[in-house]
C-alpha cells in the first residue's frame, strides 16, 4: 500500500486537521490515530509479554498451597489464587497465549475464506449459489453456539487427528474459532471479488484466455488486499473475545493454563473474598481487546473508509 494512497484516504480534500485540544482526547483516539495507538499498544504488549514471560517471578502453574489467597503485596504483586499461584505471573503468561490465539485463529479464518470468497465471487453462477447457501446456513447459527458445538466434538476429533498440546498452547479452540469466523469473512471477501469481476483488467485477462486460478491470484487478489487485511485486523479482537468466552464457559483452555478467561471463571468462586483474582485478568483482557479494537478500527478507517457495516459485532 503506497503512502500516497494512505494519505489520500486519511485526509480527504478540504478537511484540514485541527490541532488537538485536551477535551478532544476522545476524538483523537477515535479518529485516525486509532490505528497508531492500537499498533503501539500491541507492539508494547508483545514485547512486554515476551520479555516478561521469560523472566516470570514465579512458576505460573505450580501449586504453593502455603501462600494461597495472599493479598496483593510486595512479594506477590497481584496476590495469589486458591492454589497459591502468583497471579502476576499468570496474567503475564496469559498475554502471549491470548495474542497467539487471536492471531492464529484469524490466520485459519483467512486461509479458508480468502480462496473460497475469491473463487465463488469470480465464478458466480450455480457453484457460487450453492456454496453461499451453505455458507449462509453456518452464519445463521450464532457464533458462540457454533464455536461451542465445534469444540465439544474435540475428543472425537482427537482420536483421528491428534495435535501437539501443551499447557500454554492448545490448537483445538483456535481451530474452532477460526472455522466459526470463516463463513462471515468469506461473505465479505466474496463481495469484494464480485466488485472487481466487472473491471476491465479482469475482462482483459478472461479474453486473453487466462485460467481462473491465474485471474484470481494475479488479478483479483492484489486488489482485494485492503479488504482482506481489514477483515483480518478486525477479527483478531473477536477471536480473543471468543477464545476467552469459551474458556470462561469451561470449553476453551483447560486447567492449569493461565488463560485469562479461565482465570476469571475460576475467580468467580472467590469473588467476594478475593476480588483481585477477578480484577487483574479482567483488566488485562479488556486492555488487550481495546488495543486490538483500536488497531482493527483504525485499519478499516484507513484502508476501507466507505465500509460502515451495520453490525460490527459478529
Amino acid at each position: 500500500m503506497s503512502e500516497e494512497f494512505l494519505v489520500k484516504k486519511i485526509l480527504p480534500e478540504g478537511d484540514v486537521p485541527k490541532p488537538p485540544k485536551l477535551f478532544q482526547f476522545g476524538r483523537l483516539i477515535l479518529s485516525n490515530r486509532k490505528f497508531l495507538v492500537g499498533l503501539i499498544l500491541i507492539i508494547g504488549l508483545a514485547i512486554g509479554s515476551s520479555i516478561g514471560s521469560a523472566h516470570l517471578p514465579y512458576d505460573p502453574i505450580k501449586f504453593n498451597i502455603i501462600d494461597k489467597f495472599s493479598n496483593p503485596s510486595a512479594k506477590y504483586w497481584f496476590g495469589t489464587d486458591n492454589f497459591g499461584r502468583d497471579i502476576f505471573s499468570r496474567v503475564v503468561m496469559g498475554a502471549p497465549m491470548t495474542m497467539i490465539l487471536g492471531i492464529s485463529a484469524v490466520f485459519i479464518t483467512l486461509i479458508i475464506s480468502v480462496p473460497l470468497g475469491l473463487f465463488t465471487g469470480f465464478w458466480g453462477g450455480r457453484t457460487d449459489e450453492a456454496l453461499m447457501r451453505i455458507n449462509d446456513a453456518f452464519i445463521a447459527i450464532p457464533s458462540l453456539f457454533m464455536a461451542l458445538l465445534l469444540i465439544s466434538a474435540r475428543s472425537s476429533l482427537e482420536q483421528y487427528f491428534k495435535l501437539p498440546t501443551t499447557w500454554w498452547f492448545d490448537p483445538y479452540p483456535i481451530m474452532a474459532i477460526g472455522f466459526t469466523m470463516a463463513p462471515r469473512a468469506t461473505r465479505v471477501i466474496r463481495s469484494a471479488a464480485i466488485h472487481l469481476k466487472n473491471e476491465e483488467f479482469v475482462h482483459a485477462a478472461v479474453a486473453r484466455g487466462e485460467s481462473s486460478l491465474y485471474i484470481v491470484f494475479n488479478e483479483i487478489l492484489p486488489n482485494v488486499w485492503p479488504t482482506i487485511i481489514v477483515e483480518g485486523g478486525i477479527r483478531i479482537s473477536y477471536a480473543i473475545i471468543m477464545g476467552a468466552t469459551l474458556s470462561f464457559l469451561g470449553l476453551g483452555a483447560s486447567p492449569p493454563a493461565p488463560a485469562w478467561g479461565l482465570m476469571i471463571y475460576e475467580a468467580k468462586n472467590f469473588l467476594y473474598s478475593s476480588p483481585w483474582l477477578l480484577v487483574f485478568p479482567s483488566i488485562a483482557l479488556s486492555f488487550m481487546i481495546v488495543s486490538f479494537n483500536l488497531f482493527g478500527d483504525g485499519l478499516r478507517d484507513i484502508l476501507d473508509p466507505r465500509t460502515r457495516r451495520a453490525s460490527l459485532l459478529e
Partner: protein, 320 residues
C-alpha cells in the same frame, strides 16, 4: 407493500432451505460428540450388553440417515424428543427457558433502544462537544469488554460487599412481585447492553449528522423553523432508519450474546440450558435448542430486512 409480498415467497423458501442445511449440520456434529445417547443414559460403568439392548430400544442401531429423517420429522411435528439428563420431554423445558430468555432479551433490547438513541441524538446535535467525546470513548471501551468480564465486575460492585443492591443472579417469575423479578433482570440486561449500546449510539449519531447536512434540513432551517422542530420532526424521522435496522438486525445477535450473560448470572434461560446440555452431552436437548436458536435468529433477520424495506422506500425498487 407489494414489493415485500413479491419477495416474501422466495425469502421463505430460502429460509426453509437454510434451516434444512442447519439441521443436517446440527445432527452431524451431535453425532460426532464423544459417547452416544445410550452411553449417556447408562453412564460409564454400564456393561456392553445393557448398552447394546438400550441402543436397540432407542433405535441407535439404525442407519444415520434414517435416524436423521426420524428426528427431523418429529421436530417439525413438534416432538423434540426426551432429555437424556432430565428424563423429561424436551419441549416444555425448552419453552419455559425460551420465555425466560425472551424476558431478558426484550428488556435489554428496550434499554438499548431508549438509552442508545437518546445518547446518540445528544451526541449528534452536540457533535464534537466534550459530552460527545466522553460518550464515544466510553462506548469504545464498552465494546471492548467481553460480557463475562463486565457481568462479573457488575456482580462484584452491585451485589457484593461494596453496594448490595441487586441479587447476584437467578430468576423469579413476575407473579412473585415486580421488584424480585426486575431486580434479578437489571444486572444481566445491563451487561447485555454494554456492547450493543455503543453501536446503536454511534449509528444514531452518524446518521443524524449526515441528515443535518442534507438539503431538506437546510431548507427547513432557512425557512426559519424552530430548531427543535427541525431536529425532532424533520431530521430524526429519517436519521432513525439505520438505527432501527441495526436494532432489528442485532436482536438475533442478542439471543446469541445472552448465553454468556445467562451463565454469569446463573439465569435459567435457553442459552444456559444449551451450554449445560453440551457439557452433559444431552444430545436431544442440544439438537432442539440450537435449532430453535437458529430459527429465532433467522426470523429476527427476516423481520429486520422487511422492516428496512418498509422504512426506507429506496430499497423497494432495487430488491426485485
Amino acid at each position: 407493500m407489494k414489493a415485500i409480498l413479491r419477495i416474501l415467497p422466495k425469502r421463505i423458501a430460502i429460509i426453509i432451505f437454510t434451516l434444512w442445511l442447519i439441521s443436517i449440520f446440527i445432527f452431524g456434529i451431535t453425532q460426532a460428540l464423544p459417547g452416544d445417547a445410550a452411553f449417556m443414559v447408562l453412564g460409564q460403568w454400564a456393561n456392553d450388553e445393557a448398552l447394546s439392548i438400550l441402543r436397540l430400544e432407542m433405535g441407535l442401531d439404525r442407519p444415520l440417515a434414517t435416524q436423521y429423517v426420524d428426528w427431523l420429522s418429529n421436530f417439525i411435528r413438534g416432538d423434540f424428543g426426551k432429555s437424556l439428563a432430565m428424563h423429561l420431554p424436551v419441549k416444555p423445558i425448552l419453552m419455559g427457558r425460551l420465555i425466560n430468555s425472551l424476558q431478558l432479551g426484550v428488556l435489554a433490547f428496550l434499554q438499548i433502544a431508549f438509552v442508545g438513541i437518546i445518547l446518540g441524538v445528544i451526541c449528534g446535535i452536540k457533535k464534537d462537544s466534550w459530552f460527545d467525546h466522553v460518550t464515544s470513548t466510553f462506548g469504545f471501551i464498552g465494546v471492548s469488554i467481553p460480557e463475562f468480564v463486565s457481568g462479573s465486575l457488575l456482580i462484584l460492585l452491585f451485589s457484593g460487599t461494596i453496594w448490595r443492591i441487586f441479587p447476584a443472579g437467578g430468576h423469579v417469575p413476575l407473579s412473585e412481585g415486580l421488584w424480585p423479578w426486575l431486580s434479578r433482570l437489571i444486572l444481566p440486561s445491563i451487561t447485555l447492553n454494554l456492547v450493543l449500546l455503543a453501536y446503536v449510539m454511534r449509528m444514531t449519531r452518524s446518521s443524524l449528522i449526515e441528515v443535518f447536512r442534507s438539503n431538506y434540513i437546510r431548507t427547513a432551517r432557512l425557512k426559519g423553523l424552530d430548531e427543535k422542530r427541525v431536529v425532532f420532526v424533520h431530521a430524526l424521522r429519517n436519521a432513525l432508519i439505520p438505527t432501527a435496522t441495526l436494532l432489528a438486525n442485532n436482536f438475533g445477535w442478542l439471543m446469541g450474546g445472552i448465553v454468556v450473560v445467562e451463565m454469569v448470572f446463573a439465569y435459567p434461560g435457553l442459552g444456559r440450558m444449551t451450554i449445560l446440555s453440551i457439557q452433559k452431552r444431552d444430545i436431544p436437548m442440544v439438537q432442539a435448542s440450537i435449532l430453535l436458536v437458529a430459527i429465532i435468529y433467522i426470523l429476527a433477520n427476516l423481520i429486520a430486512d422487511l422492516l428496512y424495506m418498509i422504512l426506507d422506500p429506496r430499497t423497494r425498487q432495487s430488491s426485485k
